[in-house]
Amino acid sequence: MIRSAMIRILLDREFRRLRKNPSAIMLIGLLSAVALLMATSRPVSNKGDQPGPNGASQSAVNVWLIYDQRSQWLDHLSENLPDTPTIRIVHRDRVPIENGTWKLPPQDAAVEVVYGDKFTTDRGFALGKVVLIGRYPGKNAETLAPFWNWFWPALSEYHTGGLRFEQSSEPLNPDAAHTPTSLENTSVADLVTNELIATMLLLIVIFFACCHLLVSFTAQDRERGTLSAIVLSPANTSEILLSKFLFHLLISFGGCLTIVAILKPIVLTQPVLWLVILLSSIGLMCVGTCIATLAKTQASAALLALCYMLGGTVLFYLSTKFTAFYFIKQLAFENYTFPLLFSTMKRPVSVFQAPGLGTMFVLVGAWVGIARSCFYRYGWR
């Protein structure tokens, strides 16, 4: 039985404790300040916006994305087209042709989608290959930079599964000098968009509030014996756990609200954004509860939380190399958090359109069960 009076008392205790330790949430203030600086300062001019050596404006081009066969990732991209550059996704048959070559308006560029043969990686991973051949007007391959700057982050939202994408460039007019570009010589900064930064900030806030802070506070309570004192009071274990979850959820929502309100207020009204924040917050709180419950001291709990974060990062990297890790990644609810948050940052997404939301819901549900049983068995003992 959950008594609201108990929850109120315990929640009040958590807030009082925070008021006495305001530095505990300093990181959220710091991230909000970063968001504020981003929102109020002018972006550093992109080299892709400067005139090229041949005098052609590099950002003025319209891009024709030309395909032979329609696929899901193209559908995904077509739902996420940017304002600039203007991108038209068209079938090869619809491209105007003159004397056997494409007849595009002057200054327009083309990006041709070519499917390569399937191949097997050194690790036995079967992948399909997709080569995007950028064909730029004039002599400067940099004119396609705005397109690539949009393309790669937009593609990263999509679960490409067994596809490997490659990028190459060549001039539309074969007589022009060839100035190739590739992903390797594209600056990372060019790929980072405001939406990407906002998503990263949200992820940090959620991890900090729901995992790190919960681990720290709960482990401290266990180490000091405060938790056992409260468990021995009339408050029951469910009420204690629920009040902790509510407290950290409020901090997580408060931090996310601040960052979204500063960086992208337009998405504040998106229910999917809040649903994803809610699910990932609950999931991370469950992970944090298990860590705090199983660790003997606050210091070891903090280390475990750090290991969890680093372990997750390594897992995500290894999942691109080894099939076993790829399947493990599918079982991590965090796998769905980033793409979902990023999608909602970019455009309105309905609950039914958000891929992975159902899987995330199931995985978080499983974590709730694990955390509850962990806390009941070992939480204060």
Partner: protein, 286 residues
């Protein structure tokens, strides 16, 4: 005879191969002030942990205030207070804030906070953060917290540890008061004087096994030594002799000393609970 407040039957607690408590059976009556003695590692704290539900027993049955432990933990926990051997306050809160939190959890009026603080002579330090408290003050605050909701049963692990002479007497007086008002008190201590002074009954535990259980008076009767120490002066020298009155020749020797020597001091040896405790637990070790 009052109803039992705590019933322990054949309690066994094992940690792997190590047996912390072995086949312990005890019955503690209501309003009783029960002392639980034993050397370090005897299993006293483990027994208390089982009684408060924080340690699952390997086997055996435990009933506290009529409720089965650990099955009816939620019902029984409101009936007892537990003063652990280490303080578990919320360090950032003041003494008053700590007590207020628990008063609200127990649904007690906030006036009980001031009453408890006053009873443990902590009113002046009530608004000081606990992290600034001395060890003795923390101990007293812990006791104040646990008596606030007027529990039926009170578990004390080392009640007067870290307390000065005045505070020790204050706490002993408080324990007597609580027992007279109907609270059953179960305390563990190493302080033999305390046991002798305040406990109605004492159990001695050694290596997880119950060695003896009786009233302090019976302990005195059963283990009293009838030894007289005589100190007398002869040719400028002070001579001391210890004489066992249970032996006829030594009784005669005492009479002779009194009759013929210049006695400086003759006194019986006082009963010492410490000695009895060491004797009992020492026997258990051999």
């Amino acid at each position: 005879m009052s109803a039992p407040a705590i019933e322990i039957d054949n309690l066994v607690v094992r940690f792997g191969r190590f047996t912390a408590v072995n086949d312990l059976s005890l019955t503690i009556n209501e309003r009783e002030l029960f002392g639980f003695l034993g050397p370090n590692g005897a299993g006293k704290t483990t027994t208390i942990k089982v009684l408060i539900g924080s340690q699952r027993p390997t086997s055996g049955t435990i009933r506290v205030a009529g409720f089965q432990i650990p099955a009816e933990f939620d019902q029984v926990k409101q009936q007892f207070g537990y003063v652990p051997d280490t303080e578990n306050h919320i360090e950032e809160f003041t003494g008053r804030e700590n007590l207020e939190l628990f008063a609200r959890l127990y649904d007690m009026p906030l006036s009980t906070v001031d009453e408890s603080l006053a009873r443990l002579e902590l009113s002046e330090a009530a608004d000081v953060v606990v992290s600034a408290y001395s060890k003795g003050m923390r101990r007293k605050l812990l006791i104040a917290r646990e008596i606030m909701h007027r529990p039926k049963i009170l578990y004390f692990d080392e009640p007067t540890a870290n307390l000065d002479a005045h505070s020790t007497e204050l706490v002993r007086e408080l324990l007597r008061d609580l027992a007279s008002q109907g609270t059953t008190i179960f305390l563990t201590t190493h302080n033999m004087e305390e046991v002798e002074q305040i406990c109605d009954r004492v159990a001695i535990l050694c290596r997880g096994e119950l060695v003896d259980c009786d009233t302090p008076t019976n302990f005195v009767t059963r283990h009293a030594v009838r030894i007289v120490k005589a100190q007398f002066e002869r040719e400028g020298n002070v001579i001391r002799e210890s004489l066992d009155l249970d032996l006829a020749d030594q009784r005669e020797r005492l009479a002779e000393i009194i009759r013929h020597e210049k006695c400086v001091r003759v006194h019986s040896q006082e009963f010492d609970f410490q000695d009895v405790f060491l004797k009992i637990t020492g026997q258990a070790y051999t």
